[in-house]
């Protein structure tokens, strides 16, 4: 046996210890890194949903001939129920009506087409709010329209013979605030909720009658 090449027990033990330490160190880094990698996808998804929500709302509001701060349509029409303002609902009236609102139990941004189609556009929306702006008395500056003014009359009938508060016709700009959360609850520590607020100027309004 003497003279045959090989490792002594001590050499083997030292080599094993070194290997175990190195592998342990690598695993310690890989574990958290994996969460960071998943968080990257989640963050990109969150930003994408944010852009999608902003795009779809801005597109329909820009093209709107008129807006209503409540739901309009064949199903659960707010006007018929006597509701003329909801802070988390807006309807863009046009060729096709589009109502956007927050479904609070499922945290979804919903799009309702005024007929029977009512489906989620963006998921994990934790907050949605609309504010309305119009010209001041002198017609020079843009001022916020108090929601109370939008439900106090005077009332008139619009083209579809629905009652509408006259002050709704003053709306020239809609400010939208959205807050989204990450889809995976385990990653919300790494990917915090994102808020955005943006305005849409209504450039396609029907001229005042």
């Amino acid at each position: 046996m003497k003279g045959r090449a090989g490792f002594t027990m001590v050499e083997t033990l030292v080599a094993t210890m070194i290997t175990v330490s190195v592998v342990g160190a690598v695993l310690a880094v890989v574990g958290p890194a994996q969460a960071v990698v998943r968080a990257q996808g989640e963050a990109a998804d969150l930003q994408q949903r944010l852009r999608a929500a902003a795009d779809v709302l801005a597109g329909d509001l820009r093209a709107a001939g008129a807006v209503r701060p409540y739901r309009v349509g064949a199903l659960r029409d707010d006007g018929l129920a006597g509701v003329y303002y909801r802070p988390d609902t807006v309807t863009a009236l046009g060729e096709t009506n589009r109502t956007y609102y927050l479904k609070p139990d499922t945290f979804e941004l919903m799009q309702y087409d005024g007929g029977v189609s009512d489906f989620p556009m963006v998921e994990h929306v934790v907050a949605l709010a609309f504010e309305y702006f119009g010209a001041d008395g002198a017609g020079r500056a843009l001022v916020r329209i108090d929601p109370g003014i939008l439900i106090d009359g005077p009332w008139s009938e619009d083209a579809s013979r629905r009652l509408v508060d006259a002050d709704v016709e003053r709306i020239r700009d809609v400010r939208i605030s959205i807050r989204l959360e990450a889809t995976a609850s385990s990653l919300r520590r790494l990917v915090p909720d994102q808020d955005i607020t943006f305005d849409v100027a209504l450039r396609n309004l029907a001229p005042p009658r």
Binding site: V26, V29, A33, V36, V37, Q40, A43, A44, Q47, L50, R51, A54, A58, F133, A135, G139, R140, A141, L142, R172, D173, Q194, I196, T197, F198, D199, V200, A201, L202, R203
Partner: protein, 111 residues
């Protein structure tokens, strides 16, 4: 296997792992930068829309801080081709590492 071979193998392994770690850092920065650009674009569009919606966009220059780290500057000047009826609105949002510029025409009420 000599000690030299073992050292070379370890070095290659370490270099590979370090590159991967660096890649992770780069990806994180890129995602964060994309997020800042999204916000900068929205802040710029918000000001443009606000000025567009204004019944009489004031001929002015202004600046504000829409969120920590973001600086927004805007200018409204009469548009050279039709200075009495149209204003040229320019909004720039600066955030470390990126800059977003939006330009739009806004109607001015006829006198």
């Amino acid at each position: 296997m000599s000690l030299l071979e073992a050292l070379i193998a370890s070095t290659i392994l370490a270099t590979g792992l370090l590159s991967l770690a660096q890649l992770l850092g780069l990806a994180t920065n890129a995602t964060a930068a994309a997020g800042r650009m999204t916000h900068a674009a929205l802040f710029a569009s918000q000001k443009v829309e606000e000025l567009r919606a204004s019944p009489a966009p004031p001929i002015e220059q202004g600046a504000d801080v829409p969120a920590p780290g973001y600086r927004r500057e805007w200018s409204v000047v009469p548009w050279s081709s039709d200075p009495d009826h149209v204003a040229l609105v320019e909004v720039v949002v600066r955030v470390p590492g990126t800059e977003t510029r939006l330009v739009a025409l806004a109607p001015r009420p006829s006198k």
